[in-house]
Amino acid sequence: MDMMSDRIADRVKQMKGSGIREFFDIAQRMEDAISLGVGEPDFVTPWRIREACIFSLEKGYTSYTSNWGLLELREALSDAIYKETGVYYDPEGELLITTGVSEAADLALRAILNPGDEVILHEPSYVSYNPCTVFAGGTTVCVATGVEDEFKVRSEQIEEKITERTKALILSYPNNPTGATLSRKDLEEIADVANEHDLLVISDEVYGKLTYEGTHTCFASLNGMKEKTILLNGFSKAYAMTGWRLGYAAGNKEIIEAMMKIHQYAMMCAPITAQMAAIEALRCEDEVERMVNEYNRRRRVMVDGLNSLGLSCFEPKGAFYTFPSIKSTGLTSEEFAKRLLLEEKVVVIPGSVFGACGEGFIRCAYAVSQYEIKEALERIERFLTGIK
């Protein structure tokens, strides 16, 4: 029989799939499991936003939009970014509306990488940066962060990895999966390195609004960084709009133009219904605040609960994830997650999924109800007693 796999492109074939797909399949199918494995809000998109979208459909907004996205949205977004960060992006040329931040990250990497170019990536981190880099012909150079630094990437760690092939640095804070954040001072030190070595910085700030202690600093707002930063953000997390698939990229005109060139052929434009909804979302800061306050309460309960079960957990200051250590159990993170699922029906994500240095940790999301947190903690406690 003809081997279809021979026809698959090498770079795709060589990208190893997730080794724990089987575990995920069991988790997806288990009916009465409590899942802390979610990567999205449990809130439904605020009604004001949904209602505005329905209205736009009734009015017949069903066409393509400009490749860049609706100008009205780009203008509102430019205002919102300026108000929040002090950085001004020209809605005509410096802002591109994309189909989720995922597309924006892919576009950014494809727009800047030549074969063999290196991208520095801190780990543990979200799973798509490395594959997107490789698919774009680049190579990822990983920097391991550890709990002793509260999973902050240090500027000297970045500097050590720089070679003449280094093109860009990916920064992803507040971080998925650890919930770590970087302070203004941490970011300034990284900006110094980027300046000195003339690196582009792809800064994925999709969890920026979900910052519970201190305030989020936009990397582009640092001295001299606007031109060097490809700022990625979107509506999924803060506005509870994951399924709408709407994000954006902001940055230097030539880079955004290059990203647009790929976007116009690959995607054409982001869906107009989602763009219409996003215009309304930008008027819903009260709703964001309400959700952030609730996440913050859950965060405290989760961190406190995990620590009191003996799963030591540093205090995450952003996103909606906790990243406790399970080393005291003697299990690998994958074994822990599998057994917890089968024995107590609680889904958590093994830290190793997010990079080798995530081994010994699990990701527990607190984007679930207070009731579910309580129940999950009780089940985890029972599980821990059982393996002692």
Binding site: F24, A27, S35, V38, E40, N293, R297, V301, V347, I349
Partner: protein
């Protein structure tokens, strides 16, 4: 001063949490806020003694409960009195146990009164016998409540919520 602001913020946060779920224990609230249980206890005691927290109640969907009850919203037009304005008549109406709430409102009429009883007849008689004849009441208009869609921030109809995937990275 800083201490006072912090205390005020904690008070507001406790009120918000209790408004959402009044059955949480002090310990649970303390964990949600990252403060000590004793502090929560003290703040709640203070809110209760100042009567900012009036009582703890359940939001009951009577239509589902099978308990027979009829409610009506009464628009009441009132002649205010020289000394007490609307207060004395509003307080007088408030004292009837059949009356669930009394509010002074702007617009066509003055008081909005929510009355409950076992039957429509009972509510209608109550209005005719106890509210309409009051000296200061010029006029009443009764609206029987037919269906409740939302009460105290709770939507009664089940909202069809899409199921999230158990695992997303």
């Amino acid at each position: 001063m800083k201490e006072e602001i912090k205390e005020k913020q904690e008070e507001v946060e406790i009120l918000r949490i209790l408004e959402e779920n009044a059955r949480l224990s002090d310990a649970e609230i303390a964990r949600m806020m990252g403060i000590k249980e004793d502090e929560v206890k003290a703040i709640i005691a203070e809110l209760e003694s100042k009567r900012i927290i009036r009582k703890y109640k359940a939001v009951i969907n009577y239509e589902k409960s099978g308990i027979e009850t009829v409610q009506a919203l009464i628009d009441v037009k009132v002649s205010p009195e020289r000394d007490t304005g609307y207060d004395s008549v509003a307080e007088r109406i408030s004292r009837f146990p059949e009356v669930q709430s009394v509010r002074l409102v702007s617009g066509e009429y003055d008081l909005s009164v929510l009355v409950s009883g076992k039957t429509m007849q009972e509510v209608a008689y109550f209005v005719a016998e106890k509210i309409a004849p009051l000296e200061q009441v010029r006029n009443t208009l009764t609206h029987f409540l037919l269906k409740t869609y939302k009460e105290h921030g709770e939507i009664y109809g089940e909202e069809g919520q899409g199921k999230r995937l158990a695992v997303t990275l």
